[in-house]
Amino acid sequence: GAGVSQSPSNKVTEKGKDVELRCDPISGHTALYWYRQRLGQGLEFLIYFQGNSAPDKSGLPSDRFSAERTGESVSTLTIQRTQQEDSAVYLCASSLDTGVYGYTFGSGTRLTVV
């Protein structure tokens, strides 16, 4: 596609439920990144993929968070047993390769845990 597509754009869930967030990167982009932005804060790195392997998962806050990627295509970020502190905008980005090309970000998924 022309850009990075994320779905859903908004998600309201009850505390304790699982959620799945989806990211469709730009075709041909081998690197894919997940970040989150909590209210009033900066972008917090979660995980990145090179192809379908994840060389750096250091930003995942807890074992309730997991992510996978199918080949060089779609990625899903799963949050199990959601907590209120998980409320944030989850941003996905892709790039041609890890490196200095800069990322192209999607518009994000706004997750609200009530």
Partner: protein
């Protein structure tokens, strides 16, 4: 451990004047720096970048300056326009790995 810091949460500038956004970093291994711009309900968009081997990069109204000895970079926008009102994020990387972002500065351009 905040490796990239933007100490000014907000900045207000009159239209036509210069906007200067600042960023400090602590990791001397960073070898590439980028600025992103973000409008509400949109993802950040790439604005301009600079390699650590340079001290200045210019693109139209936007110029980024890098002072490695001070571990400081700045983004200059001149002249500032109303459409420049957005949140600006400074980001850094090393070894072609992930980008580390600052907290952002909200720039408001007043007519």
């Amino acid at each position: 451990d905040q490796q990239v810091k933007q100490n000014s949460p907000s900045l207000s500038v009159q239209e036509g004047r210069i906007s200067i956004l600042n960023c400090d970093y602590t990791n001397s291994m960073f070898d590439y720096f980028l600025w992103y711009k973000k409008y509400p309900a949109e993802g950040p968009t790439f604005l301009i970048s600079i390699s650590s081997i340079k001290d200045k990069n210019e693109d139209g109204r936007f110029t980024v300056f890098l002072n490695k000895s001070a571990k400081h970079l700045s983004l200059h926008i001149v002249p500032s326009q109303p459409g420049d009102s957005a949140v600006y994020f400074c980001a850094a990387m090393w070894g072609a790995q992930k980008l580390v972002f600052g907290q952002g500065t909200r720039l408001t351009i007043n007519p």
